[in-house]
Amino acid sequence: MTNLFTTATGHLRARHRAEWRFRWLGRLAIVFSLGFLLIMLVSIISLGKGALSRTEIQLSIDLSAASTLEDVDLKKTVRTALFTTFPEVIERSDKRALLKLLSADSSYELARMIEDNPALLGQEPVLWFTASDDIDMYEKGAIDANLPENRRRLKDTTLGWVRALESHDALRSVFNTAFFTSGDSREPELAGIFSALIGSILSLIVCFTLSFPLGIMAALSLEEFSKKSRWSDFIEVNINNLAAVPSIVFGLLGMAIFLNVFGLPRSSPLVGGMVLALMTLPTIIIASRAALRSVPPSIREAALAMGATRVQTTFHHVLPLAMPGMLTGAIVGMARALGETAPLIMIGMVAFIVDVPQGFTDAATSLPVQIFLWADSPERAFLEKTSAAILVLLGLLVVMNIAAIVLRRKFERRY
């Protein structure tokens, strides 16, 4: 007897230990995944926060001789302003280097300022201009002034000018609104995400309007109306398989059918949205079917018993109850579509787009593509743009996922 008892306690102890071990392994797994997430976020945020500010240089512009915008030789005016600020610069090559303090866009900037405020004409106003990316990087501490001169992007003379500007308070750091309001540019200090963002939104609108109704109709037909047969099994297996097909395959399909057969415009959000719709359709069908299945049969039976037809039962009772689940599935599918680049390569949306797309057939790109293109650019200053764009994309994904949760919470019924 005693013998049996001791072995039992021995077993018990071993089982407790095993349970304890398992719990701690589980906790460790959570700590690890959270840790990686944290490392990723911290590194992206610390890299990307620089993109929120930009450096500006103060210049006094001589517009006293001009009465209309057309009178102003924009390039020359800005150039002269810079040369008068540094009268000691005489050599041609030095003057060239001096011009590189300013962004390549400074003449257009001046034109915009005059358009916004025509009262500047005939005056000698003091205005702020965007500095070039090298100056911006230096101000943000990304260029080490202690390195030997031949290894630095900024030479000693330029550094001297920058320090002179600093000492006259003619250099300031401001919030970089251009990052959110302008399109792509080859000059890092001018590049923004606006056109990519609009491209993404347009593609998602097309994607949603195509895949959501289609997905719901398919799910309803499979779940509510069709009898279980070999055919429906076959279709079900295929839909599940389709959900796992690599997204680039949908891009190839889109290129072959939408571009080559239907002749739809290349690089357009219309085609992008259609390809993404193909990709999200299986996800939505699967989620919608699960949502329909979770509606208790008693509801259907009650409606049928009251004399409703199958269609009335489905649309008056089953669909409204399943809608929150379907919407959640659709939003999760959309979130995945938002992060896709691979299918867009094939249909020409991996492109340099400056202008903001004006409609569904205009050339456009998307946020993840913008991130990819910036990550591939030689200029150092694109590094922070890349990280900032990733943050914007992550932010959008979080918003979409929160929307999914809120919708579910709000409309979910428990039985």
Binding site: R153, R186, L259, G359, T361, A375, D376
Partner: protein
């Protein structure tokens, strides 16, 4: 709810179709992409035309799209980091693309670089070939699988560190150019291999262009920034990428001397640096006049302020052509002189 969404989308769709405007469509090489996009951006700002759309598809992919036909939905211009091949011209002609204008825009140097923390390499083309080829001469007129582990085994003057070179994958134009200029350049310094070229061209090409796959050459993907980061972290490794990345990252990496010449702006422009290639774009003449702005775009590209010695492309890392060459190509481009290969 769904109804409202559909209605909104349909209205937006029809509105969108009306708003789309015709713009120049450019495809092609990822090496030319930064230059082409810079010009496109300037062009969009300086003129009333819409900013051209520039896609990065690779030289081969771009030419395939370009040669698909002369319909309005085919690209108007394609960029290439190598010259168009006779087979591609034939394919173009088959599809009705008979008149093509070739515009050479300048040069790009391919550099072998390592971290500034390490010693600068001084390589000959033969060193590069012996270090990176899959098969190397065994000294008896035959070949053997590459036995070299360290740089010192290749050439006693080089440091005794393990050979580790990070470079682009086979799909890249940079890789093609590297194989052609550096590898083949070193390969044919062996007399018997140079003779082989006349006898068996495919065997010659296989021997000279095949890179080793035993870990000494690491395919690091198309992202050159990544290679630069890896070089900074690993002082023993070398990397292969375009000159513009060296110029932007001079605080992290240094270019190796190849054939006695350092990869510097002047040396590449003068044609002294051995591993440099020409960059081109090709214009579909049938589209000039059909799509608004093509002639103006060519004019913007071949402007001295753009591709000249002090033009804005030089700042982006393009190595300009000589003055006479620039003038010649600008003239051909303006008159849309059709290309003839030979």
């Amino acid at each position: 709810m769904t109804k409202t969404f559909t209605a909104i989308a349909l209205v937006a769709l029809t509105a969108g179709a009306a708003a789309a405007q015709e713009r120049i469509s450019i495809v092609g090489s990822s090496t030319v992409f930064p230059f082409s996009t810079t010009v496109a951006e300037h062009f969009g700002k300086a003129t009333d035309f819409a900013t051209p759309v520039v896609e990065s598809t690779g030289s081969g992919g771009g030419l395939r799209l370009f040669c698909a036909g002369i319909e309005a939905d085919t690209p108007d211009i394609t960029n290439a980091s190598r010259r168009i091949k006779a087979s591609e011209v034939a394919r173009c002609a088959e599809n009705g693309v008979t008149d093509i204008t070739e515009v050479k825009i300048g040069y790009d140097g391919i550099v072998l670089a390592n971290s500034v923390e390490a010693v600068q390499f001084d390589l000959s083309l033969r060193d590069i070939f012996l270090a990176l080829a899959a098969n190397v001469p065994d000294g008896n007129g035959g070949t053997m699988p590459n036995p070299y582990e360290t740089w010192a085994e290749v050439n006693p003057a080089l440091p005794a560190i393990r050979i580790e070179v990070m470079g682009p994958p086979p799909t890249s134009g940079t890789r093609d150019a590297f194989a052609e200029l550096a590898m083949e350049g070193g390969c044919k310094t062996f007399d018997w291999i140079a003779d082989l070229k006349k006898e068996d061209k495919s065997a010659y090409k296989a021997l000279c262009h095949t890179l080793r796959e035993d870990g000494a050459y690491v395919e690091a993907g198309e992202n050159d920034n990544l290679i630069v980061q890896k070089l900074a972290a690993n002082p023993d490794a070398l990397g292969i990428f375009g000159y513009s990345f060296l110029e932007q990252n001079a605080d992290l990496v240094q270019g190796s001397i190849v054939g006695g010449v350092a990869p510097e702006f002047e040396a590449i422009a003068a044609g002294d640096y051995p591993v440099s290639r020409s960059l081109y774009f090709y214009v579909k003449n049938a589209h000039v006049g059909e799509v608004p702005g093509i002639a103006e775009f060519i004019a913007e590209f071949s402007n001295e302020d753009t591709w000249g010695e002090f033009g804005y492309l030089a700042e982006k890392g393009l190595i300009p052509m000589g003055e006479a060459e620039r003038a010649q190509f600008a003239e051909d481009a303006a008159s849309l002189t059709p290309l003839s290969l030979d």
